[in-house]
Symmetry: C2
Subunit: 359 residues, 2 copies
């Protein structure tokens, strides 16, 4: 299903399945969830190549491999039929960025669901029956226990949160504030909890979302307004304050507020601010005297995806990630699925080329 024009119906394209070249893997897609950034592109709120096959929160089964053996990120040999997820990008590993541990900023980055659609060798998005993985993609076998709709957001949402917690360091017994209770925020609540955090506060403008977050390990939710109130601040302080903020909303006031709330030695990880916005007002004296750390993160590194899979393998029994995805739409219903996804009734809307689930 090809995205050709903002806010217009997807068009159908049919191509011959490509033969994988050495290092490549042809995947038959099982499931793709619509990420917020797919919506931003579709509705013209951000740029992107056209025509393009959107969708990057994808999983599938290996349909074909080149003759040479190919391995997953752990070094195991891959076979036809293996159920896999993969890093949202391929890159050659030779760039300066890759060498300093930031492969997601390599100049040769090839990002799934974000490249022009030209021919059968550019099947790279999730809203299709197949995807051709390039050499330099970190591939991971999926545990059978994780359902398709739990698995699809792994290579975007959950891997990004795993990256945030990697940057944050040890959270054991630390008090965490998750800012924004969307999919990233719920993942941050649950993953902080699983990593041994003490209190996990969550903030959002929506009370409904805050309510949901309680099922994902949050101890307590506050609306953005509540969090600026003296009474609430004193309450949080009396409970030990906040050591770590994981900021997923990208809202400037939320980032400023998060810094204000941090304990001495605290850290704020920003992952939400990926859109044009007003500058923040930051008091540097406070950052210095309180010995604070601010770290931005965009995308993630392959080990973060490995961490996210390990997390989900344990966490899917404890937290209702399964319920965050709508009924499954067929590929041919993609227009409708995008409309449903944009009205925010669901955290994710799921697409499957072949089957309807959860009806």
């Amino acid at each position: 299903m090809v995205f050709e024009k903002v806010n217009s119906s997807f068009s159908t394209a049919t191509v011959t399945l490509p033969m994988p070249q050495p290092g490549e893997v042809l995947v038959e897609i099982s499931y793709t969830t619509i990420c917020k950034s797919d919506l931003h592109t579709y509705f013209g709120r951000r740029g992107g190549p056209k025509p393009c096959i959107l969708g990057h929160e994808i999983i599938g089964r290996i349909a074909a491999l080149a003759q040479q053996p190919i391995h997953d990120y752990a070094g195991n040999s891959l076979q036809t039929g293996d159920r896999i997820t993969w890093s949202v990008y391929a890159q050659g590993g030779e760039s300066k960025m890759a060498k300093i541990g930031i492969p997601q900023k390599s100049p040769d980055l090839y990002k799934y669901g974000h490249e022009p659609f030209i021919n059968n060798r550019s099947l790279n998005g999730g809203f299709a029956t197949h995807c051709l993985l390039r050499k330099g993609t970190a591939i991971f076998k999926l545990p059978t226990e994780i359902t398709d709709n739990e698995a699809s957001p792994l290579n975007c949402t959950h891997a990004t949160i795993a990256g945030s917690l990697r940057l944050a360091g040890d959270v054991k017994n630390k008090s965490v504030l998750v800012s924004g209770a969307g999919m990233l925020g719920l993942s941050a609540c649950a993953m902080s909890r699983e990593n041994g955090a003490g209190r996990v506060y969550v903030t959002d403008i929506s009370r409904v979302r805050l309510e949901h977050a309680l099922a994902f390990g949050a101890s307590r939710g506050f609306t953005a307004d509540q969090l600026t109130a003296d009474k609430i601040r004193k309450k949080i302080e009396s409970e030990g304050g906040i050591d770590l903020v994981i900021e997923t909303s990208g809202v400037p006031a939320a980032m400023e507020n998060g810094i204000d709330l941090l304990n001495i030695g605290g850290t704020s990880i920003w992952v939400g601010a990926v859109y044009a916005q007003r500058d923040l007002s930051i008091n540097a004296e406070k950052i210095v005297r309180k010995i604070l750390t601010i770290r931005g993160l965009h995308n993630y590194i392959p080990t973060d995806l490995a961490t996210a899979i390990q997390f989900m393998n344990k966490a899917h029994q404890k937290y209702p990630f399964h319920n965050l995805v709508s009924k499954t739409y067929l590929l041919e219903q993609l227009d409708e699925a995008f409309m449903v996804a944009d009205n925010e009734d669901y955290y994710r809307v799921g697409i499957s080329p072949t089957k309807k689930q959860n009806q």
Copy 2:
């Protein structure tokens, strides 16, 4: 010499030397340098207790110990006559802050040169013949090769820079911008260089200071104005850009500029912003997309002082730290010394209770 009133002559006080209690050390002061923060207090640009014995960049020899054995930070037994430096603060080690690795923010902090002068048990500043070290002070024996005036700033300037580089992580082959070429900045140039940095740029508003910085390991200096010029920025970019900023000036525009100049994955360490100032304008999207880190540091931990001593033990032969201190004033000339220190002809002005040097 007691500081009683802003911008007024120091007054002389005479007390009986105190007997060290268990865990305490009585030091006969050899040398003290006037730190900028002493000047800020003396000239009323910041608050502080009065009466007070100022001066915290101090070294001396052990004059008396309690009967129980006492050890330096490395665990070696201390003896009368040992030439020592010590952490700028004492603290009990039992606070939450001490336990999370930020002892310098312990609520029971007792800071040398910053406490009220009451009696002979509160001899805690450097502008005196003696200083009584409390239990919970990290003490370090000084290598004989380091001269008095090189050694005095260790427990403030150089330890703070060692802390900055601890926060920055490995700087090997990285490109560093040192912002501010005062004593902290010169230390940052030399220590980055000794830690294996690639290019070490330095920026300041003073061309004279930039010139001096070249003798301390800086590859090249830029005035603050030059650093905002497109041509200079392109030049720096063509040389590989900047991976790490060590910001010692505390000037808001310098901090903003530093962030602007950072490469993807870069880090800015702020240590200079310890005075009231306007808020910074920070674009969070840039922090996120460029995966930047900002870390504030105020004071330091004892291992930073150990690192600073090791650094100076090698570096004093390579870099002219010795020349940064004025002729030595006697304690009785303290008023004059403060006037000289405030006119900025010297990076530091030195005081010795007993001897004149470098005349």
